[in-house]
Symmetry: C2
Subunit: 482 residues, 2 copies
């Protein structure tokens, strides 16, 4: 064990606790030095700073189970942590709690790839990008893809039901898992690593742990669904007159491609401007500026030119009907990458524009145009000069409705109005039957607002589930439901 | 109320109970005459005959809620029933219970179709075929399809997480629902009719009610996912040397079609023989007999001949490598229907071959060949002359492993060995990481064997969920978990 004294010693039994933990995982697997703890106690956007006497890094499912059992005995809460790329504080211990961080990062084995069953079995600590690469090596596709894929871990992806850019074609993380191995709050292990497409033998427990944000148990391994690797992909970047045209274009892409739209993203003009201005190598691919753009990927099993033809057919028909004002179709992988670079650069570019108040919302796809119109008007009325940057996965009805500060405004004063803006936007979202957290989860950030917007009936059901599976309340307390 | 006296009067308060129910739903919505009750108290295969003083048929969600509240007050159990096409006795009240049947059949409105959002909102009592037709009218596809679709109801489909023939491309019933409205065991209504592709606002409660077989609450309405209607479909019927070749062919179809395989079924020779023999209009489409066949559907968004070409490419390559021995590709919709008629006639044809002991199992797709080889050998060793009829959704690893009696054997004596055969087959299934109920559920039929094969940890979790959501135990008791 690290010789530096643990920071938190409010409980006199901490030494006994750590000794028992050490007997299970070994001294090297317990971090207690401040500089070792720091990266585990801070959320990446800097919104949350937590506290914990140690970070424990077990190497196996059995070690996780033993650690949890000891934690239960000492009434020490457990905050599971993957790549710590979450945006709602779900993986950060709350300072007032008596809690340790349990990092899954050492459990990073790919246990099995069964290409014939289109599955792979991976441990929670596997980095998403490594999983994608392993699937690719087996001539398969693991389609989950999102900004943090180089550092996020699959255990976290599953616990938060991650979304990303390929949901339209392949589903959320929830839809990409067939079986789970989970350490339960009492230290028992649920061996649920089934690789079956059909299994109706009782309640589907895995769907509680997926999206449960570590509040019901710790996912230690999973059987993931793989897909045939597309042999062809065509990327287009099209200017559209308004969001309603984007939604109409989506329907045509779905139909004519035979449901082979893997991504369908919306980008407002302001993002093109800021990306071109701030991010090296990004250029506007179209000659004239337009208000709105969509970025579309279609995929196919055969590379015979027919997919490009389909895309051209869709775009030219849409152009004639003025649903599309201008468009470019990538003629090479490099050109496709350049188009995607625009989309990826947006988040970084926005940082150069001052404070940004963020929303991760969804509404039915049919209501996206109304949502955008109403929400943009409402925030502009409250803060004249505010610059909405609504972008993202319009194909899933999921808009990252970010709001850049007015030019020249005071950043801190602007950010102080975060909750006020959230309330305006979320009220409209909920009125349209939408979600106040489409893909980032609840964590700490949205516990209160979730309780505000969800029905009492649903919140009470969630609490009953929590109490049933974690009666002592030691799993990631105060997250999701409080 | 019907004037005939209720059959079950063990509780003196039955009259009070019925009076309170009548005040909610009206006299016509309460069936008590023996001939009215009969069709609701018997499972379609005749395996279960139940008992209940009445069948209650509410007309709205509010009425369902009020009925459940009254049932809770009188400690009267509630057995929800849809089209009563289940095969495991899940919708039949157990005679020893004090229970009523709650039929959802009057709640059969399609509340909304939102073609732009690719969703429709339907009540539980909607017949599956009517939902398919309504989607089709809106130029959309609702892909759930199974033998009973002309009579089964969507509430039952969801409660049992129905599978069927299109799971490979579109998923199980579970994957086709975005939101639910549920009457909870205390009579509260959960209004969860969300039509969102992304919603990470807490535990995903709908996945407990889907597949919960009415033991946790009563699904009264659902938001279903729709898809673009395929513009082209190509059906092929191919003879393969063995199941391993079928699995290899599946992989090629998945890759070359770009994951557009909507069905992939396996059929053994014995089924062709009995269908041709017993079912009018069924003929063997190939010249020579072969041991195994697959029936394949590919779908596409454009009808330009390219899908047929893809199918021909797959088959001719497979033919050269002796993965396919002979094949025919339907040249018209009528020909495709004739090929599907073979598959659909099988169940009926088998009835003419005497007693049939049935299994609805799944294993990882990669293990299907081993499963078939081992299971067929094991049952033949135990009962010489037994005639295995393994058919079904090999694309999902789901085999209906039916066993026809030896020619000339005594039917009753053969059927008396049902449990013995189940044990042999299920032992092999579980050893291969499979499921003893792939798509039919647990109901009453498999409660004991499920408890036998599943880990104590998982069964205990299920019991905790049941106790948390239905502490009084009034929802469909003794089903799923006992």
């Amino acid at each position: 064990m690290n010789t530096e004294a643990p920071k938190q010693t409010s409980d006199g039994r901490l030494g006994d606790f750590l000794a028992e933990i050490e007997a299970v995982v070994g001294a090297k697997a317990i971090l207690t030095a401040a500089e070792d703890l720091a990266p585990h106690l801070q959320e990446m956007r800097g919104l949350y700073l937590g506290d914990a006497p140690c970070v424990i890094k077990p190497a196996s499912t059995e070690e996780v189970a033993a650690v949890v059992e000891i934690c239960a005995k000492y009434e020490m809460a457990v905050v599971p942590q993957g790549g710590n790329t979450g945006l709602v504080g779900g993986g950060i211990p709350i300072t007032s709690d008596k809690a340790i961080v349990l990092s899954l990062s050492r459990m990073n084995a790919i246990r099995e790839i069964d290409a014939t069953n289109y599955t792979m079995t991976v441990e929670a600590g596997c980095i998403l990008q490594n999983i994608q690469a392993a699937a690719d090596n087996a001539d398969r596709l693991f389609p989950l893809s999102l900004g943090a894929e180089g550092t996020c871990q699959i255990g976290g992806n599953l616990s938060t039901n991650a979304g990303g850019i390929n949901v339209l074609r392949y589903g959320n993380a929830r839809d990409l898992v067939l079986g789970l191995e989970v350490v339960l709050p009492d230290g028992q292990i649920w061996h649920g690593l089934r690789g079956l497409r059909k299994d109706n033998t009782g309640y589907d427990m895995k769907h509680l742990f997926v999206g449960g944000e570590g509040t019901l148990g710790i996912i230690t391994a999973a059987v993931l669904k793989l897909f045939a690797k597309p042999r062809d992909k065509v990327t287009a970047f099209a200017a559209v007159p308004n969001p309603a045209a984007a939604v109409e274009l989506l329907g045509r892409c779905r139909t004519l491609s035979g449901e082979a739209v893997s991504s369908f993203e919306i980008i407002p003009r302001i993002s093109i401007d800021s990306s071109v201005k701030h991010i090296a190598g990004v250029t506007d691919p179209l000659e004239q500026p337009h208000d709105w753009y969509v970025l579309v990927d279609l995929v196919a099993g055969i590379e015979d030119g027919s997919l490009s033809e389909t895309m051209m057919t869709i775009l030219s028909e849409a152009f004639e009907e003025e649903l599309v004002l201008d468009a470019t179709v990538a003629a090479s992988e490099a050109q496709a990458a350049a188009l995607w670079r625009i989309r990826e650069a947006m988040v970084e570019a926005q940082k150069h524009e001052g404070g940004s108040i963020k929303h991760d919302v969804s509404v039915p796809i049919s209501r996206v145009p109304e949502f955008l119109e109403r929400a943009m008007a409402a925030v502009s009325e409250r803060i004249p000069g505010i610059r909405p940057v609504p972008f993202g996965h319009i194909g899933d009805g999921n808009i990252h409705f970010n709001l850049s500060q007015p030019v020249g405004a005071d950043k801190a004063a602007y950010l102080a109005r975060w909750d006020e803006m959230n309330e305006i936007v979320h009220d409209i979202v909920v009125e349209l039957g939408g979600s106040i957290s489409a893909e980032h989860g609840i964590g700490r950030l949205k516990v209160q607002s979730n309780a505000h917007y969800k029905s009492t009936v649903e919140i009470e059901m969630m609490k009953k589930i929590k109490a049933a599976l974690d009666p002592a309340g030691i799993m990631n307390p105060h997250k999701v439901v409080d």
